[in-house]
Amino acid sequence: MKEESNNLKTKLRDGYLNAMLGVIARSLCAMSKFDATLQKELEGIPDNFILQMKVLPDVAGMAVQKNAKGQLDYLGKEPNASEGQKANVVIAIKHPELAFLVFSFQENNAQAFARNRTIIEGDLSMAMRMIRCISHLEVYILPKAAAEKALKRYPAISLLEKTRTAAKIYGHLTLDLLPGKTT
């Protein structure tokens, strides 16, 4: 009985992590289509650059790629090796329980790094840019209380601006998810 309960808990946790990473990846792609701040950050990143985030051991993940238009495309849970895709930067969290601390906003990203729960592989300056992109996204897609926990500093933005940008993100996200769309 206890084992079944643990299995269910583990499945729910892993499902939540996959859902969160999927939402972050797809929202990042959607935001990259219109947000000037994000686009400026992406200018400094080479075309075809791939960011992968994953929860070890292969519990959850996401990968996005910068295209020639300066926007991000969603690649799925991981880069497709058979198509020659290889991540330029990999941000990995060592264990699903540790990832749950981050994605349930009990620890912010910087705290996870400070506590050696996260590993970054690849070009660190590009990793910094992508982390800034994700932080910028979190300002708009998370409720203010959650964003304040997830970030070191919550910027001074109005509720109107937050709502308007979030609506745009979700609008683009919905369009992207329509049948026939690949990203």
Binding site: G44, Q111, F113, A114, N116, I119, S125, M128, I131
Partner: protein, 394 residues
Amino acid sequence: MSTPCYEFFCPVKIVAGTRSLEHIPHELANFAASRPLVITDQGVRKAGLVKYIEDAFNSSNINIVDIFDDVPPDSSTLLVTQIANLYRKLDCDSIIAIGGGSVIDTSKGVNILVSEGGDDVTAYSGVDSLKKPLKPFFVIPTTAGTGSEVTSVAVIADPIKNIKVVFTCSFLLPNVAILDPRMTQTLPPQITAATAMDALTHAIEAFTCMGKNPLSDSYATAAIHKISQNIINVMEKPDDEMGRLELAQASTMAGIAFSNSMVGLIHALGHSLGATCHIPHGICMNIFLPHALDYNLRHGENTLGEVLLPLAGAEAYANTPANQRPQAVIDYIHKLRDELHTRCQLPRSLEETGRVEQAQFAKIVELTVDDAALILNPIEVDREDAMTILKRAW
């Protein structure tokens, strides 16, 4: 508050004190090594420091196989391959690095190639690319600042791709670090001061940034105390052997502290200034130290006040109200910088370096916000913040 979860690792054997160099043959024998290759630079050779090591081997049953003494200040992956080929040709079985950051990082690269094989060290770049222990590796630092003798990182320029390649792996840590006061005794005053301020910055950032932990704190505070107690004495009396040893030990302790807690804003700014204007790292640290601490303090950093105890001593700490201690730390550092400027013209501002133009600020800002050291700075730093600090440091 220290992070409630942390990792701490330092397996380097430290051999410190007078006549420590004479321990090297025995330490090599402990690793079943008998054919060491010495790697150093022309500055160390001309200062006569290699002679101390040669003398230490004279009365032992181990001979130095060869001495490569031409590592430049900005080493490269090509040089790493060249020295690795020399090591293989002479059938060496261990490496002794004598020098500062460039010599030590180059030697770490050589050790990768001679242990793992191949001719391209960049194949082993990144995090944790090495999966087994390397050849016996001894380090004798000739400056008291970088802490490279106890860090698991090497940064080596790739002249073909024109990038700096970073290697991070615990197997890069030396087996033995030897701190002999003779090796830093001839350091010129300005380099003595700059490297001491580098070590002080390592310790203060280790203590105030997000990766701080109880073990790194103990090394950091001990390092701060040793530096503040000895830096002016050594500037006054460069031949003070015990003072030199104290600074060397402080540098190593600060290295252990920051390699287990990481650094923050001061290093992000310093790396970027160094890369843009080719200013020595210790001078960059000296310039930014009080300004970055002030920025963090004004935006809510709350551990700086505790630095006053090791920095200024128990009496100053007790006589300063708790809410004034953080500012007292910054004031102390300003005074220390003024004193060092008087004694050896160590630049305190970007303008005093004579090598920085305000037109370069935009580039320095971009590099700063892309520097991974910012991740663990306790306070968020964006482009506007970095520009403000640069203007204050002008």
